[in-house]
Amino acid sequence: MSRTMTYAEAVREAMALAMTRDERVFLMGEDVGIYGGAFGVENDLYERFGTDRVRDTTISELGIVGMGVGAALMGMRPIVEIQFSDFTAQAMDQIVNQAAKLHFMVGGQANVPLVIRAPGGSGTGAAAQHSQSLEAWFAHVPGLKVVMPSDATDAASLLLAALNDPNPVIVLEHKLLYKQSFEVPDEFPVARLGEGRKVTEGTDLTIVATSIEVQRSVEAAKILAERGISVEVIDPRTIRPLDTALILESVEKTGRVLLVQEAAKFGGYMAEVSATITESEVFGALQAPVKRLCGLDVPIPYNPNLERAAVPQVEDIVEAAASLVEAW
């Protein structure tokens, strides 16, 4: 059995499930109460769970995350929503210097089971301060786990997994996906953090993509199939820790790999995936250089045509993939 649901609804359902099952779970953030969340993710949650467990905060990202850290240290299971992932910039100290390191710094005396949800990505015309994809920052922080759900099921399953994890987990959702509908199972499975997913099977080329670029890569794979190119799309889902084995196995099989991210190219997450592949034992199996297809190295512009040009679209993936297969 399955049903249809938007990504936003899936996030909401997962939060509701968790709050129902575990009284330690609660949610804090800006406008998550009666407003229903800036993207409508929370909707009526505050009515269902009350303002004690769905807490509207002041506009104080550093303070909110810090309170999440404190509550988590005391055994609660807070979910903190950062309205746009761009505003994690305000909270980096609490995310990185506190949440991520506390367990280590105190020699294991305490954990910080904190879940931070923050939507990233461009495509809404919100320009440079509301459209970034900042996963590379978080992926570089020892002590954090980082997930990037690319569809409704994962949005729920990864969130449930994050809430079961004794470590701080940052969930980078995607603004454009919120309104998109997906087939979902009747009951959401709890994912395993660190386990990737093979989205399509293929033999000519591996595409590793994250977040909305997974959707675009699957679209591209369909088009490429018509051109006789068989693509295996891998979604790591958790970008820290990374399911390296799944990627290497696929690359070993196909011999070619295209890495697709929305974030600006230079210093982005896919550089790590590229380095991981070329450093590994599959280096010898590579029939072509590892190639990245990424956002342009610009702040996200307001103009819709420029904005579209700034990040990989389906046709860009098709072209990059085809040229990789055809040239090598």
């Binding site: 800006e30 406008d31 002041t58 919100a126 420029l306």
Partner: protein, 328 residues
Amino acid sequence: MAVTSKELATDALRQMWQIRLFEEAVEDLYGRGMMHGTMHLSIGEEAVPVGALRHFREGDALTSTHRGHGHCIAGGADLGRMMAELLAKDNGYCRGRGGSMHIADVATGNLGANGIVGGGVPIAAGAALSQKMRGTDNVTICFHGDGSVGEGAWHEALTLASMWDLPVVFLCENNQYGMSMPASKAFKVEHISEKATAYGIPGETVDGNDLEAVAEVVGRAVERARRGEGPTLVEALTYRWRGHSKSDKNLYRTKAEIAEWRDRDPIARYAHDLLEDEVLTQEELDAIQAAARQDIRDAVVFGTKGAEPTVEEMLAGVYAPTPEEVQA
């Protein structure tokens, strides 16, 4: 109402009408799918920027917010280039890269709108530092919302500006809400201006829908700053008639409340007072409104005719060229 000259009154009323009609035009363009992104309208708040900037001089600076059309227009920006920017055109103030949330007119001292709540507050203090270090009697006006008072950035800027007696007026546009968080709930003080005492600076609350009152109170603060006596926190009480942005369902406030504030329309009220005090006649009032309407029509025409920006120029616009690059 304090007595005012016919010339000042005419200018002020025309600017308020320009703001109102500019935003109504924007709303209309958006509704017709000709404008994208999001928008934050300041309809109902026009008296604050127009009153506050009466004292603005060459060399003064201002910082603005996500709700910044009024600041920009009152600061003297060109309406056509503003509209072009919102229409994402190359002849817009930001060449279509910034949009409403980043609109700026640096030539007139407007250092820019800001998509980050509280983001402009330390920048304003820094502009004032520059004015002070250069030995000028210039000042910076820092527009910010009530919501930004919850940000650490706000606190740090007030701390530093008060320590150094910087010539800055922190002008809090208290329109009663952040996105949905009531200021009265967020801050356990009756007036946000009371927070000034924590920084050892004067604080004053003014009716933000009374243009002449705003001009007077901000005028005092500006004079104090010009004399080198340091910052002031001015709180202007006002109200936004529209929702926070397009995603707002207005669940957090009542229709009655909105209606009550519409009755205190700063434009109607000013016009009424001017008529009553015989500063302007009804025909003159009508002519001002008509002129403003024509200004906006011209702006829309100018904007609509703008060219589309190019990817190449966007790529070249990330970094300012170094002196050597300029030479080459």
